[in-house]
Amino acid sequence: MTDASILEVHGLVAGYGAAPVLKEVDLTVPRGAITAVLGANGAGKTTLLRTLSGLLKPTAGRIVFDGADLRGSKVERHVRRGLAHVPQGRGVVAELTVEENLRLGGLWRRDAAGLRRDMAEAYETFPALAGRRKHSGHQLSGGERQMLALARALVGRPRLLLLDEPSLGLAPRVAAQILALLRRLRDANGLTVLLVEQNVRGALSVADGGVVMSLGRVAVAASAERLRDDTALRHAYLGF
């Protein structure tokens, strides 16, 4: 484990039922950078994130987060270590209000004052949420829900953020805003992001590096620049 990488994955095998979806995934996530995880449907991108955050137990392999082996560690402890996962579909709790969802993100924290400060900061970063504090999750638009899910994850002060398809179902302008925000967070807080996206162009426009998955394995790992500019590579793995 080098200081430059926040997460290392070795030979990860995981799946649902008999056939594994992830077939020996090796991956290194550089610290303080945005890494995009790309690939066709069914390649295993969501399964990868779910295995990293512990929702799915791997059958083989190692996950090392900041020097600590995550195997055997309970899901609910991960957020304390600085690992946050915003799942596909966002996971905004519809029955709770915006304020309650946000507070939920930081309930594990011991410092009440720090939590209040970070919640205030969240409202500054996402003014649309500030106006909807007492509204329940039901009443938010797709873009607002994504912002809430992101704000909620950030209130936990993560060092690594796993984001599953944040631009799904969002208008292009809103999606672009969210992706641009990730860049700002990386620059301001040194946040590391592992970003699963179907929106390849959008993802590569903000990412520093990218990993392309195919049939449960990592097919290519390269810088975002190379993935954008190398036409042969793009044609072969990204379909455009």
């Binding site: 609910e76 507070r103 939920l104």
Partner: protein, 292 residues
């Protein structure tokens, strides 16, 4: 007219107890998606515990407190020891296991305490006040109302104002996401059971001294009645549980008063049948929650 007024107040008083018991059922339904068919038996066990403590110490209130504490403990034991193993399987399994638990609890109580009906003393007078010749509420009725109102206020504050309450709700609404946010969902489920069991204990302590008598099967009809009340109100709705409880209490009081006490079980079951046929989701059922 006098009779009607008396029956109304008596019905509301009974209804308050059904409301409390229905709340216990709703708590577990919301927290674990299980109807706790063992709620009545668990509750009567706590009343026996109170009986033992009161006999030993001479204090009704120590017994009362013991019932609530024992209720908390029993909820934890039942969830950890039994119910968590059937939580993810078909709902029928949970029902069968709960019914089995009822048999076990009733048998153990019978072995330890015997199967005679024990008289249960109310801590306050059960004679109704009369105002201008109309029979009103008794001191005990006022106590029952006060206790149930305190319970509802306490639960409402717990769930809406405290961190634990937020965790309980999040764990019930969205268990997977809650785990990602650091909530100990399994622990919250146990806590929900403990709370519900303590609420059931309170309800049983309130109803047993009203002529029910203490016997291992005392709470069976109360369970069915409270379950009916919860279904009438909508199993997902605490407000519905309370409204359902009061409504059912009133109905049974009128039936008992005008048609005879033997008709009350019939009335309960007919009501349950009617609700399940006409509006199974209950009167207060809201929009089905969407996971987003």
């Amino acid at each position: 007219m006098d009779r009607f007024v008396f029956l109304t107040f008596d019905g509301l008083s009974r209804g308050a107890v059904y409301a409390a018991f229905a709340l216990a059922l709703v708590l577990i339904w919301r927290g674990a998606r299980i109807v706790n068919f063992a709620q009545g038996a668990m509750a009567v066990a706590t009343v026996y515990a109170a009986y033992s403590v009161t006999s030993a110490t001479g204090s009704y209130w120590l017994g009362f407190g013991a019932a609530l504490l024992f209720g908390l403990a029993l909820g934890v034991v039942v969830e950890r020891g039994v119910m968590r193993f059937v939580a993810h399987t078909s709902p029928l399994n949970a029902v069968i296991v709960a019914l089995g638990l009822v048999l076990v609890i009733q048998a153990v109580l019978g072995m330890v305490y015997g199967n005679e009906y024990r008289p249960a003393e109310a801590p306050f007078s059960r004679t109704a006040f009369t105002v201008g010749g109309l029979a009103f509420l008794s001191r005990y009725d006022v106590f029952v109302f006060a206790a149930v109102v305190a319970l509802m206020v306490g639960l409402a504050l717990l769930f809406t104002r405290t961190a634990v309450g937020l965790r309980l709700r999040a764990a019930a609404f969205a268990p997977e996401v809650s785990r990602l946010l650091g909530v100990n969902v399994a622990g919250m489920r146990t806590l929900a059971w403990a709370l519900a069991s303590a609420v059931g204990a309170l309800a049983a302590m309130l109803v047993v001294p009203t002529g029910l008598g203490l016997h291992p099967t005392s709470m069976e009809l109360v369970f069915v009645t409270a379950f009916t009340a919860a279904v009438v109100g909508g199993l997902d709705s605490p407000l519905g549980a309370v409204a359902g409880g009061l409504a059912v209490g009133l109905l049974l009081s009128y039936v008992s008063g005008y048609a005879g006490a033997e008709m009350t079980p019939v009335a309960v079951l007919l009501l349950l049948l009617a609700v399940l046929l006409v509006r199974p989701s209950g009167l207060f059922s809201g929009v089905a929650a969407r996971r987003v």
